[in-house]
């Protein structure tokens, strides 16, 4: 309740205060101007948001597959862990944003470099959390599974993967914004699609309301996705002790 009132007050201050302090429209447009511009360009917003959402989500899904598979490899092949983990950590600390222009040169102006950027940025948190989630299982549980005749595949599906779900959910909350940044930076550097491109054209034309309107689109997108993750957790992780108080 207080948060809504507080937020409302901020909006009012923004709407009417900026004129008093003489802030020009191209620096900080008022909320009503932003909403108007958003409504005017709604079809354009939808189109470009769709492009960004596609590259972000494809990159994210790829990072899930590769991250989990790589984690499995590291868990089952002991010596691999000493090589892959530090290797990936080192690779991760190279700012991919800086090599983004290189990806544009290599892969062109289409979706590919954006997907690649999104994927590379999202990979590390997914991988690390998968290794912990799937690897840190009580040895007694694995023994019991094997005594009952469990194959490694069944153990993977019903023990390792299930144990990893909370860890992977947490990783997604970190990986998704990273993937989004990857896509947007790719769009800043090349191509004519996506919210990154839209923001840049707003900047180029000094159409600041458009920039803000695009930020609004991005916020809506992230809210939906993170909301989806939280909903998934709400349903699938209902067993967690914090959710069930005696």
């Amino acid at each position: 309740m207080e948060a809504t009132i507080g937020f409302g007050l901020i909006l009012l201050a923004w709407e009417y205060g900026t004129a008093v302090v003489r802030i020009p429209n191209y620096i900080l447009p008022v909320p009503s101007a932003i909403l108007r511009r958003f409504w005017e360009t709604i079809a354009v917003q939808a189109h470009h948001l769709g492009a960004t959402a596609t590259t972000t989500l494809i990159g994210l899904v790829l990072s899930l597959f590769v991250g989990v598979l790589l984690a499995l490899a590291v868990i089952y092949i002991r010596p691999l862990k000493a090589i892959v983990l530090p290797g990936l950590a080192a690779f991760n600390s190279i700012p991919k944003i800086a090599i983004a222009p290189l990806f544009i040169i290599w892969f062109g102006l289409g979706m590919e470099p954006k997907i690649l950027l999104a994927f590379l940025l999202a990979l590390f948190p997914i991988f690390v959390n998968s290794v912990t989630g799937m690897g840190e299982i009580e040895p007694d549980v694995l023994d019991l599974a094997r005594l009952a005749g469990g194959t490694e595949l069944r153990i993977f599906a019903k023990v390792r993967l299930m144990n990893a779900v909370p860890y992977i959910m947490d990783a997604l909350k970190v990986a998704f914004p990273l993937a989004l940044v990857g896509s947007i930076v790719g769009e800043f550097i090349g191509g004519n699609n996506g919210v990154g491109y839209l923001i840049l054209s707003g900047q180029f034309n000094l159409d600041t309301p458009l920039v803000f309107a695009t930020l609004l689109s991005i916020t809506l997108f992230t809210t939906v996705v993170i909301g989806g993750v939280v909903l998934f957790e709400w349903i699938v992780l209902a067993w967690r002790p914090s959710r069930r108080t005696r």
């Binding site: 549980v141 023994d143 299930m162």
Partner: protein, 254 residues
């Protein structure tokens, strides 16, 4: 107790870890449908022995036979209960019990009734849909026992299953186990520290020496079944407990 084919035959088994031998020249038999308990001081290799019988750990020397067949790995017909219940936290009681069936590759639906019967036998009615952290330690162990018994294994191995419980719960669990076992009469190999537990539950008690462990004495418990609280007061019970204690204590002197 030697029969033509004992349910379990441990034949001159040795297990060495790095430099030290946990178990050396250990030999004993377990008869069909017998409840056999192994007692011994800490670190005498009881758990190692149990793991070798289960097939999880290979012996360094000697052989283990289950019904005449040499054990080379887990045979899929053995239930096991550890000191820690190790239930899967994301599964309800009934789903934890059905875990064994799922690992075997069977359709859990087929075993649902069996799971419910075991729940009733273990006095866990009403807790089918609860999660492990909502159950007490004793209840979790009962779930673990039901899980081990789901597929009617021909051998049940128990490694100090009540060791982590308080004395009163431990005693109560002993009687619960007698009740559950009474309905199934599986062959059981039970490991414990507790002499009274050993005498109350078993048909035969094997006393192991300190590390490196070997079988020092075999005592037959001829108390009538079914056993209950009154058995604890039976003079024969006291005598047997004394005999076991003497055997263990004799080792301190050696």
């Amino acid at each position: 107790m030697t029969t033509a084919t004992a349910a379990v035959k441990v034949d001159n088994v040795t297990k060495t870890f790095e430099t030290a031998a946990a178990v050396e020249g250990l030999s004993f038999d377990v008869g069909e449908n017998e409840f056999v308990t192994v007692v011994g001081p800490s670190g005498c290799g009881k758990s190692t022995m149990l793991r070798m019988v289960s097939g999880l750990v290979p012996p360094t020397d000697g052989k283990v036979f289950i019904r005449g067949k040499e054990v080379h790995g887990p045979i899929g017909d053995v239930g096991m209960v550890f000191q820690a219940p190790v239930l899967l936290p994301w599964r309800t009681t009934i789903k934890n019990i059905l875990f064994t069936a799922e690992m075997r590759g069977e359709n859990p639906g087929q075993y649902r009734q069996r799971a419910l019967d075991l729940i009733k036998l273990a006095s866990l009615e009403g807790f089918e849909k609860r999660y492990p952290h909502e159950l007490s330690g004793g209840m979790q162990q009962r779930v673990a026992i039901c899980r081990a018994l789901l597929l009617n294994p021909s051998l049940l191995l128990m490694d100090e299953p009540f060791g982590a419980l308080d004395i009163m719960t431990r005693e109560k669990m002993g009687f619960e186990l007698l009740k559950i076992w009474g309905a199934n009469r599986t062959t059981v190999l039970f490991v414990t520290h507790s002499i009274t537990e050993a005498v109350l539950l078993s048909d035969t008690i094997i006393v192991m020496t300190a590390r490196p462990g070997k079988a020092k004495a075999v005592l037959t418990v001829d108390l009538p079944r079914p056993r209950d609280v009154k058995t604890l007061r039976d003079p024969r019970f006291v005598d047997l407990a004394g005999a076991v204690r003497d055997n263990i204590e004799a080792q301190w002197v050696e």
